[in-house]
């Protein structure tokens, strides 16, 4: 779906480095936690370098098929690098960071 980003052209100034889409189902506990978690992670590690879209698939059910969603919540990382799908409420920060390809900040260690 997404064209593979050209490494030479990277980073493109017009677009933020990280493009994240979070698909949730209304205000279920999992969804709420996921929203909180992703916001936290982004603010902590990707400040100013990301774009986060939160989609409620109750509102747009057609997207469920389009995005091939099964488990909810799902976070799809569209950029940079390969598209990754993260299923769950994102409470396992280590796995989230690893999957997003973010190096931990020294002060976190």
């Amino acid at each position: 779906m997404e064209p593979f980003p050209d490494p030479l052209a990277f980073p493109e100034p017009a677009e933020p480095e990280y493009s994240l889409h979070l698909y949730i189902t209304g205000a279920t506990p999992n969804s709420t936690r996921a929203v909180r978690n992703i916001k936290e992670i982004c603010e902590l590690h990707l400040k100013g370098r990301y774009e986060l879209v939160i989609v409620d698939i109750y509102q747009q059910p057609e997207l469920a098929q389009q995005e091939d969603l099964i488990g909810v919540p799902t976070l799809i990382k569209r950029r940079p690098g390969l598209v990754r799908r993260l299923v769950g409420d994102l409470s396992d920060h280590d796995r989230v960071l690893k999957a997003l390809g973010i190096m931990r900040l020294p002060d976190d260690l």
């Binding site: 059910p61 799908r85 299923v87 769950g88």
Partner: protein, 580 residues
């Protein structure tokens, strides 16, 4: 949708069912799958689980006007469409008409990272959206266990799948879930069979190098169902399930008589032929003209302007026609005018069930008046005895129920197994049993025909010799020799001897006649002699009498003359001669 079972309205409400439209399956399930509930179809690879699911959807759309959703976890939409196109299911077109929605769910472990708690709401929403968008009544989830390979958290999955089944029930859609068969359990996860209301097990077995597919309903909550294993086939028209026997022995019977095509054979039956709709078995050893008997019957049916269907497992149609022509049975014209259809196939070409399906299909298509199967014993090479028997039972049942006269030929060998097969397996099912056999005499074989049984009519008890002439089969008159009925050369000898005897007797009679005639003539000659003798004696006597009278008269007249001339006292001189 609720009005599918009108008979149930009066009594207690029966479980509403959703007919599948799959041939035979609705019969076994007594109406279809449980309406608005999930049904599991499980089986090992290559059983046709997906196909059955798709057929359920497509038939639902085409025959019952119920739109459907297919959620495929394993195959992509184009793949599925291509796979079922050969069965005449046009998924693309159905999708375009908004009667079908196909959603391929791609599950890839490598793409999915679990980062905490989650549920499968994504799937629910997708499904819900698909159902709502076309108003679907039927849903097929093709191999839901694919989820287990993508999501490592089994506990979540299991509870979510339970929730999914519940949710589907609440939505009131009739759902079919397919699952791979596990070791020792119906499914790999051992989950789906407990949450489904109906479980259909598909099985693919290879026995003696021949594959048979079988279907069994393991459970059906709230309904009775056929419990046997039913063979099923994947044919050009989809899945076809064959109930082992649908015969309840309540078929209509006919009083009409069908001729066997051989007048002399008809004579042997009390009512001059077979009852219409009965089954006739012709058994015999090799080369006893079983096929010829079958072909004569077929010709007779066609001559009467009725349709006949012949299944031959030994010869090609051309060969059969040529061979039958040599004995004066010309089948070619009937093939040309469409009254006769010859379906030839090698028995080993298909499994037994497939043969049965072919026969079913052709019988339904052509609606024949009579069917000839030559020979049924060849099918043994395909299956084992029990299978062949059950297949034949079903076949005979089917033909009887359809009120079609059926003639089967069967080869009987002197070997152990096969003779029993015929005797035990089929003969009790057939109504008429004609046996043809070799009557082996001194240095020759002759063909003998007898009727072993004929239900509902008297029949001859004689073994009739018959010969195959260039104008068909001819039964010969019974010839009785000194030791019983004789055949072949003995018959000819007997006939010659009888002829010679006749001749001798005839000659003897003639001789006697001649003798009599001669004697008569001799006697007559004697009589004539005697008569002549008598006549001469008579003549002589008459002459003497005449002379006497003449003399007497002369004497008298002389005396008068003398008396007149002389006085009476004078002695007459002529008195002396008269006294001599």
């Amino acid at each position: 949708m609720q009005a599918q079972n009108p008979a149930a309205a009066s009594a207690l409400p029966k479980l509403p069912k959703s007919p599948t439209g799959i041939e035979g399956l609705d019969e076994i399930t007594e109406g279809g799958l449980p309406l608005g509930r999930p049904t599991l179809i499980c089986g090992s690879a290559g059983c046709g689980k997906t196909l059955m699911g798709i057929e359920f959807l497509v038939r639902g759309i085409q025959e019952f006007n119920e739109p459907g959703v297919l959620m495929a976890f394993e195959e992509t939409v184009p793949e599925l469409a291509a796979n079922v196109a050969s069965l005449g299911f046009d998924l693309k077109n159905l999708q375009a008409q908004k009667l079908l929605r196909v959603d391929h769910v791609h599950v890839d472990r490598s793409e999915i990272e679990e980062t905490g708690e989650y549920d499968l709401d994504g799937l629910f929403i997708r499904l819900g959206y698909a159902i709502d968008s076309i108003g679907a009544k039927r849903v097929v989830l093709d191999t839901i266990e694919a989820l287990f390979s993508g999501f490592p958290n089994q506990a979540v999955l299991r509870s979510e799948i339970r929730r999914l089944f519940r949710w589907l029930k609440d939505r009131g859609v009739t759902t079919v879930i397919t699952a791979e068969r596990g070791d020792g359990s119906l499914t790999r996860q051992g989950l789906e069979e407990y949450v489904s209301d109906c479980v259909i097990l598909l099985d693919n077995r290879v026995i003696d190098q021949i594959t048979t597919r079988r279907l069994r309903i393991v459970k059906y909550r709230g309904s009775t169902h056929g419990t046997n294993e039913y063979p099923y086939l994947i044919t050009e028209d989809g899945i076809s399930v064959l109930p082992v026997t649908s015969l309840r022995l309540e078929h209509e019977v006919s009083d009409q008589i069908d001729s066997s095509g051989i007048p002399a054979l008809d004579e042997m039956f009390g009512r001059r032929g077979f009852y219409h709709g009965s089954s006739v078995l012709i058994t015999g050893t090799a080369g006893t003209a079983k096929t010829t008997l079958g072909a004569s019957f077929a010709r007779k049916i066609c001559q009467e302007g009725k349709r006949c269907l012949m299944f031959v497992f030994e010869e090609s149609p051309q060969q059969l026609i040529r061979n039958m022509r040599s004995v004066g049975i010309d089948l070619a014209p009937f093939i040309e005018n469409g009254l006769l259809h010859i379906e030839a196939s090698r028995p080993t070409l298909n499994g037994l069930e497939r043969h049965l399906v072919t026969i079913h299909r052709l019988v339904k298509e052509l609606d024949p008046y009579a069917v000839v199967i030559d020979p049924i014993t060849n099918l043994i090479s395909v299956g084992n005895m029990a299978e062949v028997r059950s297949m034949l039972t079903r076949l005979i049942d089917f033909l009887k129920v359809s009120n079609i006269t059926a003639v089967f030929t069967a080869l009987v060998n002197t070997g152990v197994g096969r003779a029993e097969m015929t005797e035990e397996g089929v003969s009790s099912l057939v109504d008429t049993w004609v046996s043809v056999r070799d009557l082996e005499g001194v240095g020759e074989r002759n063909r003998g025909l007898s009727i072993l049984k004929s239900r509902g009519m008297a029949h001859s008890n004689q073994v009739r010799e018959f010969i195959v002439t260039d104008h068909g089969i001819e039964l010969l008159d019974v010839v009785i020799g000194p030791t019983g009925i004789v055949t072949g050369a003995s018959r000819l000898t007997q006939q010659l001897a009888e002829h010679a005897q006749d001749l001798a007797a005839h000659q003897e009679a003639e001789r006697r006649d001649r003798e009599l005639e001669r004697r008569r003539r001799v006697l007559e000659a004697n009589i004539a002699n005697l008569r002549t003798e008598f006549e001469s004696v008579e003549e002589e006597l008459r002459q003497i009498t005449t002379h006497e009278q003449t003399r007497h008269q002369t004497l008298q007249s002389g005396k008068q003359r003398i008396a007149a001339a002389n006085p009476p006292i004078q002695n007459p001189p002529a008195a002396n001669p008269s006294g001599e």
